[in-house]
Symmetry: C2
Subunit: 207 residues, 2 copies
């Protein structure tokens, strides 16, 4: 099946949202933990997370236009801290449920438990294996559709010992992390190949 730009724009709204959200490829699948100025906890699933740079250690997250009932970006603005916690196999259903418009904290109603580490005021997800604490660096408004691309610096990072390779690579397949796809897809991983640094003279070899 194929579509031109005009045909895409003519698609029914939900069909188009499902389609366009799917075709960019597999995505990160993280729970974002935050608190508001009064200390109320929030937890929300995010998939639009990308690596921006390793020096300084920085990533970028896309936030949809803020409407009532969406608290993550407001909490980050208010407190200057948040956490990202990889979603594990078996947690997909609860992770998806955090995307409902809750009036209470998602920690009270889903299966996730908050956990606090010294010096970090935002809640982590207890039991998540790859997790990090971040502080905002800069917000970039995407005027074309009202979304916000937030640059954030990594201030603390955890990776399970068994998933950490000698060269710093974190094996997310053995860590049990899931991949996101589309608006509501949670994919599990089968296996992983790595290849040597690519040079023209020789085809990269499996590591």
């Amino acid at each position: 099946m194929n579509w031109s730009k005009v045909e895409i724009e003519g698609l029914e709204r939900f069909f188009r949202a499902n389609l366009i959200n799917s075709v960019t490829g597999f995505k990160s699948l993280c729970l974002l933990g935050s608190r508001d100025a009064a200390g109320r906890e929030n937890l929300a699933v995010f998939t639009q997370v990308i690596h921006v740079g390793a020096d300084p250690p920085m990533l970028g997250i896309l936030f949809r236009p803020v409407v009532d009932g969406m608290h993550s970006l407001a909490n980050i603005r208010a407190t200057g801290w948040f956490t990202l916690n990889h979603v594990l196999e078996g947690e997909a259903q609860d992770a998806h449920w955090t995307s409902a418009r809750w009036e209470v904290s998602e920690f009270q109603v889903t299966g996730f438990e908050p956990e606090y580490l010294p010096q970090i005021p935002a809640p982590f997800v207890k039991g998540s294996r790859v997790r990090m604490a971040l502080q905002p660096v800069r917000e970039i408004l995407i005027e074309e559709n009202g979304t916000t691309f937030l640059l954030a610096a990594i201030h603390y990072l955890e990776v399970p010992d068994h998933a950490l390779k000698d060269d710093g690579f974190a094996d997310l397949v053995s860590a049990g992390s899931l991949a996101g796809t589309g608006l509501d897809g949670y994919a599990s991983l089968a296996g992983l190949n790595r290849f040597t640094y690519a040079r023209p003279k020789e085809k990269p070899r499996p590591i």
Copy 2:
């Protein structure tokens, strides 16, 4: 294993690059096809691709600071067109090889063949199943590290019939797309769960 910000900054450069590139989670895995003003073809693997919006259909790609031998962004600036083509199982080794600093076109030396569609001057990858043609909308310079976040509009899109669901969801697991991880990881998918739209009253059900 865990690291504070200061500890991350003190890590050996390649260890830190592997680590920080891994922990953001699974990523899109696409081959970007382009041509320069003289018509010379280029193909390069990209993993930092995110959905920005479905209306208008738009995505974002992060480009590293341009140095000699990196042609994709320069070609996009010169011609106003590029393609993204999902990498399939069995193509990971060749996809990784496109990241070498080639002086000739990657289409000449790797196993990928160019294919052209009417009205679109950039080359697609023949045989790729999920693929699209895009035009740049706006470049956003990330001053913090010299990377460029390019907003691009989808002008043409292809998804295999068998992977397209009634509601517009493209099943990338059945399409055979791979997920990227870290600087050199290519992960295959095992399975997929989808869940109903999340509302507080009822836990989302599997679709």
